[in-house]
Amino acid sequence: MERKGMYTVEVSHVTKSFGAIKAVDDLSFNVGKGEIFGLLGPNGAGKTTTIRLILDIFKPESGEVAVLGGPMTEATKDRIGYMPEERGLYQDIPLERCLVYLGSLKGLSPTVVRQRAGEYLERFDLAAHKNHKIKELSKGMQQKAQIIVTLLHKPELVIIDEPFISLDPVNTQLVKGLLRELRTQSVTLIMSTHQMHQVEELCDRILLINHGRAVLYGGLDQIRRQYASHAVLVKSSSELPALPGVEKMEAHNSSVKITLASGTSPQQVLEELVKRNVPLEQFEIATPTLDEIFIRVVQGEAGPVE
């Protein structure tokens, strides 16, 4: 039994409709303190609605949401940082003024907010642009500014929608480093993204939703193991011989994917290959990438999780 209040975010049996469409349908999940949690799903799956329900921008028709130990209050808002997918900064005012105003709305005093904005601007290499209007900045710069707004008040919970979408590799690295640093500070992070390799690299646990319902939920390693097919990937400089206990052999990128018959273990296949003196360059258990799992799940291989 899970005890209430153990988690930073607790969503239980939440439903939200727009007209006849159920955007979120009896959704439940928890996010623990200090974890990086991936909220995934195809376009229109209900990710943004879920985020807005957590943030109390929308009220659910049924179910409950608890954030940082209880329902959302005005004081709770000061402990949360939110970066929407479509970046929302005032376009017509200088960068620094925008940061200072939005930071002050999170309850920071003008002195503190100014000092912290200065530090972040330095760190993100934006100090030279602090007097430029936001609309004069490049897309990547605007995104960095948005990340600063999200983190300025040192939130305990950060909810971030597509954090890497306009960033070049250097800035992606910078932001990734920052997110990892937040984890070491026990900041809870909910990240919604389509970039599965980023999720694989950063997230501890994920929730995959489709049509407003949870279809995959749990630890990343556990899910990948769960979806591992009974197969091995083998790469060799010579042709692979026919092997006993093998159902099928097929080319898979530059290697060969060997699907095993039930009752055959990868270890047995390896022994057979060694016995036949096959020169091996690669031998590994074929675990699917998150991309593959995503496609399989969304295309209907898995029903909703209980």
Partner: protein, 417 residues
């Protein structure tokens, strides 16, 4: 003890967020170039108009001399009349010995016209004016002043002034609380102009508010704001901020007007009669403030419910129309300022600000009518604030989809519980 202290601190924090919204919204509009333009455009327009009038006057009123032939002997030792206005171009007045000489000068284009005063002028008061083209009214007025000054020559100064200024009928209410002089036409006009200026200030500034809100909705800044402050804080902060902007504009215009009158007094004598009763100012402020709040809140409601600025401008017509309505009926209101039409329009909150300011120019609005009108205006202003908060909550995140009136006033919609 500890928890109540925490609660207090939290309340304080929330209150300071409200003021931060107010301060930001105020600065954001006041520091913009378009605000400065709006601020300067009205006085600039007045100055330009005054200059145009002056130039036209100059062009029309040539200072070609006026002549006269005096058969009455009244102007034998003529004195110069006192200069009445520095804006008037003095027209030289030349005496001719004979009508033939005067006629010759007129035909040579050296004169605008000439007067002939017959020998029995003092009895008949009839003089003859001979011209090819009618002389300017200013030249005629200057000649009349010249005659008046010479006829009154030798009278005590007080009598001269009294006769020169003419009569002035003062109408006074029975209780003496209000009086109106014939020469105070400017003071009658003041509420009329003040109403118009007020309406202009309201519509320009609440127009900014509506536009800014639609923009915030379009570029999603609203989501950031909503996860920092409550809808009511946001909305009331924005509205109070914009009312501040409007008041700044009004105060600046009033400042310009006072400055203009002070400077103008040196040149235009009737400006000296301008004085505005403090009680009228207080009443005006009492009507205009809740009126401003009401209209700004309604405009904000529109901004929160529509999806693009153009659509918003169409809907605002529904607000502009009733506000301006009393001007359409201004003849009825002025001719019968305590009539049923005038009273009815003062009770309806949207028409009240203009209706009351119009009536104030022509009558003493009874306190028994003013108070209920103010109460209803304030109540509606607060109601509009609530409505704006609700529209905000309902409409802010519904991009591309309008909030219906039924949702706004009716049962809690899907977005609210």
């Amino acid at each position: 003890m500890k928890s109540s202290f925490g609660w207090c601190r939290e309340r304080q924090g929330q209150l300071s967020k409200f003021w931060r919204v107010v301060a930001y919204e105020y600065q954001r509009h006041v520091l913009r170039r378009r605000f400065l333009f709006a601020l300067l455009s009205v006085p600039a327009l007045v100055v330009v108009m005054a200059l145009v009038v002056l130039l036209i006057d100059r062009a029309e009123n040539k200072n070609t001399p006026i002549g006269y032939v005096d058969h009455s002997g009244l102007l034998a030792q003529a004195v110069e009349p006192p200069q009445s206005s520095s804006f008037e171009r003095p027209v030289p007045i030349i005496q001719f010995e004979s009508e033939a000489q005067a006629k010759e000068s007129l035909q040579a284009g050296k004169l605008q016209a000439y007067y002939v005063l017959p020998s029995d002028y003092l009895q008949t008061s009839q003089a003859e004016l001979i011209f090819i083209q009618p002389p300017s009214s200013s030249a005629q007025a200057q000649f009349r002043n010249f005659i008046r000054a010479n006829l009154l020559k030798g009278q005590p100064q007080a009598i001269v002034e009294r006769i020169t200024e003419g009569n002035d009928v003062v109408v006074r209410t029975a209780d003496g609380s209000r009086q109106m002089s014939q020469k105070d036409w400017f003071n009658i006009l003041t509420p009329f102009i003040a109403g118009l200026v007020f309406v202009m200030a309201i519509f320009t500034t609440s127009g900014y508010l509506m536009q800014a809100m639609v923009e915030e909705k379009e570029n999603r800044t609203m989501e950031i704001l909503l996860t920092s402050v409550s809808p009511l804080q946001m909305m009331s902060g924005k509205i109070v901020g914009i009312v501040g902007v409007g008041l700044t504009q009004l105060l600046a215009w009033i400042g310009f007007a006072i400055g203009g009158v002070m400077v103008g007094r040196n040149y235009v004598t009737w400006l000296n009669a301008v004085q505005i009763a403090p009680s009228a100012l207080v009443t005006m402020a009492a009507v205009m403030l809740p009126g401003f709040l009401l209209i700004a809140a309604l405009m904000a409601t529109v901004g929160a419910t529509v999806t693009e600025a153009r659509e918003g401008q169409q809907v605002t017509g529904l607000i502009t129309l009733p506000v301006m309505l009393p001007y359409w009926f201004s003849y009825l209101i002025i001719s019968n300022p305590n009539g049923p039409m005038a009273v009815a329009l003062s009770y309806f909150p949207l028409t009240a600000p203009v209706a009351l300011s119009l009536r104030m120019g022509f009558t003493q609005v009874p306190l028994g009518e003013l108070l209920p009108s103010l109460v209803s205006l304030t109540a509606f202003a607060l109601g509009a604030l609530w409505l704006a908060g609700r529209a905000f909550r309902l409409g802010m995140l519904r991009y591309g989809q309008r909030v219906t009136l039924r949702e706004l006033f009716g049962q809690p919609a899907a977005g609210e519980h």
